[in-house]
């Protein structure tokens, strides 16, 4: 076990998988010089053919990755969530739909690594947390890691998976540290992580909000409240059983989601529990998600948008009223 920074864990996963499998290559903007940190040392080890700097052409290179995957390569594409809008047609019309549309002929082992920068004054065009919009589209596996160990293990799984995966890398975690197990450790898709056992309320938290949920749970101990914290780790596939089992035990649910609240991942979890876990509930489900506004530049307003530890504490109290 080694203490590893989130970005380094991503870098390790890429290097290990590129060493393991020659069909893995990576493309994106400014990756050879590792502008965002996760692609350091790749060019030196793997050369220009497998580490490709692209022009600013998301439609072009998102699609080129799809075409390469169809004929046997395993491309990794580095991008930012906010640039995904530019290449949306390729992600939706091609990556998500091809396999089904062609009756199962297509195999698309392509991974899009999309960083979500938010919370740091990046304003409306660089702060997207868009995974719920992709959950709505069948055909894409949606990965939302919250720790260095998970981002490494999930990214490795994604690279070996034969379906299109989008790994949403939470930029607020970029400098976070955590223990990453040594060796070739994969994290399975669709297995939620129960980070903290509790009896009174279940908090399901996603990506950067997981640590806030853990801090909120710690704070609530002083009030004699025992909170169970669950990180789904992947939204597609979603481990709904772990969530339903937890709600059966606690009778209460708070869903924390850095995405906008309407049709959010939190909404989907709340709806599953409302339909399949209704008789376990002792209180209404509470969503703690981002306000339904664009991300304002000024820190004075931006700090009001996202879930916080205090909002989660308040939501848990609401379920206990």
């Amino acid at each position: 076990m080694a203490q590893t920074i989130f970005g380094e864990a991503i870098n390790q996963a890429i290097i290990e998988e590129m060493r393991r499998d020659e069909s893995v290559f990576i493309m994106g903007e400014d990756i050879r010089r590792s502008v965002y940190g996760a692609t350091a040392n790749l060019l030196e080890e793997f050369g220009e053919k497998r580490v490709i700097d692209t022009p600013l052409s998301e439609n072009g290179f998102f699609g080129a990755a799809i075409g390469a995957s169809l004929v046997g390569m395993r491309p990794i594409v580095e991008t930012l969530t906010s640039f995904m809008w530019v290449g949306m047609d390729q992600l939706i019309s091609q990556a998500a739909k091809m396999r089904y549309m062609f009756g199962g002929q297509a195999r698309l082992p392509v991974v899009y690594r999309a960083t979500m920068f938010y919370g740091g004054g990046s304003a409306a065009h660089h702060s997207d947390r868009s995974y719920p919009m992709f959950m709505n589209m069948p055909g894409l596996k949606i990965i939302v890691p919250s720790s260095p160990a998970d981002v490494k293990g999930l990214l490795k799984t994604a690279i070996r998976d034969d379906d299109p995966c989008i790994v949403f890398e939470d930029g607020t975690l970029a400098g976070s540290r955590g223990e990453v197990p040594d060796g070739d450790r994969l994290v399975e898709f669709g297995k939620a992580n129960v980070l903290r056992q509790g009896e009174d309320c279940t908090v399901v938290a996603i990506a950067g909000s997981v640590s806030m949920a853990m801090n909120a749970a710690e704070e609530l101990v002083a009030e004699g409240v025992s909170v169970e914290v669950i990180d789904p780790r992947t939204m597609v596939p979603l481990d709904k059983q772990t969530i339903l089992d937890s709600v059966e035990k606690t009778g209460r649910l708070v869903c924390v989601d850095p995405a906008h609240k309407v049709c959010s991942a939190a909404s989907e979890i709340a709806s599953i529990v409302a339909q399949e876990g209704f008789w376990s509930l002792q209180a209404p489900v509470v969503k703690v998600a981002s306000e339904q506004v664009h991300i304002p530049y000024t820190p004075a307003l931006e700090k009001l948008v996202y879930p916080t530890k205090d909002k989660i504490v308040e939501a848990v109290r609401e379920t206990l009223d």
Binding site: P55, I66, G67, A68, V71, M101, F102, G103, P237
Partner: protein
């Protein structure tokens, strides 16, 4: 083959060229193996009979949805695919029947797909606009125009990375030539010297909008100048001209010299789509224009030429047409008798590594 250079736009180097558009009518000699000539004629007839039949059975209500006849444009896909190997890849667009049939795709599977049956290429899940047969390099047709251009470019990127010698060709229309995906892909292919052939089927109308009103240059091929690749505007009614231009492009691609843009100047004899309702012809193109183009039927042009040169006999040509007509008739019977998918098929084929259905 005569190459006439055109004034290059913006004072850039002259990479675009316009082929002599009437060499077929002039009866210029051909230097192509007879078997290949037969194959080209055969595939043009396969497509023609297929489309004629599709219009008939679609009008009779035998299947639903849109379908986009390729009648009049056969020489483009056939000329390009005649220059490809089975191990090469193609991708295409909504006007999709001609491309896979030109690549040698199974006629029965294509027809069964239009009928939405389990024996279709895509088990009935794709339909007319999404024919694909990966077993012979047909990476699929895209209903979103221009959207398959990056995909074909990516297949070529894989060839470059691995050092494979396959090439990919992608078909798109004059309308799609205005899509960002096309422009981005041509730039990518050129900076990376990818083995891809961009084939613009300029049938002159994006539904009802003339390319003269939507493309800023005289020929779509002129745009190649901006991507520093060869661009050539070819008579799209002349399958031999299309084949020869494609052979040059394939040779360049396979030898690592990068992409080529080929514009096949052609014409859609029928309307944009079946099932869309009939657009009154005079509303966007004149009867005179349509009749003028119908006189340049690619199959007639080819047949006249090879017969007059003594390459094939009239009887040969008629026999080929009849064989293909029967093949299409059989395909319709096959499609009619093929079952619809079971309801249990609904959730199949979503994932290569399956996950639980939400």
């Amino acid at each position: 083959m005569a190459i006439i250079s055109v004034p290059a736009p913006c004072g850039l180097s002259r990479t675009a060229a316009v082929r002599d558009r009437r060499q077929a009518e002039r009866g210029a000699e051909v230097n192509i193996d007879k078997e290949l000539l037969r194959l080209m004629l055969r595939r043009m007839w396969t497509i023609r009979h297929f489309e004629v039949k599709v219009i008939e059975v679609h009008s009779a209500g035998e299947f639903t949805g849109g379908a986009h006849p390729y009648i009049g444009e056969e020489a483009v896909a056939v000329g390009v695919c005649a220059a490809l190997e089975d191990t090469d890849y193609i991708a295409g667009n909504h006007r999709s029947h001609g491309h896979p049939l030109a690549k040698g795709g199974d006629v029965k599977g294509a027809m069964a797909e239009l009928y939405g049956r389990v024996d279709g290429y895509c088990k009935g899940k794709g339909g007319s606009m999404h024919l694909a047969d990966f077993s012979i390099g047909i990476l699929g047709e895209s209903g979103i125009v221009g959207s398959s251009v990056p995909v074909a470019t990516g297949a070529a990127l894989a060839a470059k990375i691995r050092g494979d010698d396959f090439v990919s060709a992608v078909f798109f229309g004059d309308g799609a030539s205005n899509q960002g995906a096309c422009h981005e892909s041509m730039n990518l292919a050129s900076i990376w010297d990818l083995p891809v052939i961009f084939v613009c089927e300029n049938n002159q109308y994006a539904v009802t909008t003339s390319y003269k009103d939507s493309v800023a240059v005289e020929h779509v091929a002129d745009r190649a100048v901006a991507y520093n690749m060869p661009g050539v505007s070819v008579d799209g009614q002349d399958v031999i001209a299309m084949y020869e231009a494609s052979m040059e492009a394939v040779k360049r691609a396979r030898s690592g010299q990068g992409p080529t843009l080929i514009e096949g100047l052609t014409y859609r004899f029928d309307e944009h789509s079946l099932g869309l309702g009939r657009v009154r012809r005079g509303a966007y193109r004149s009867e005179e224009e349509i009749e003028k183009w119908k006189k340049r039927d690619p199959i007639e042009i080819f047949t006249r030429r090879v017969v007059s040169l003594g390459e094939l006999s009239e009887a040969d040509c008629e026999a080929i047409s009849e064989e293909e007509r029967l093949k299409v008739e059989e395909a319709v019977e096959f499609a009619r008798n093929s079952p619809y998918p079971e309801p249990s098929e609904l959730h199949e084929d979503m994932w290569a590594n399956p996950i639980a259905v939400p």
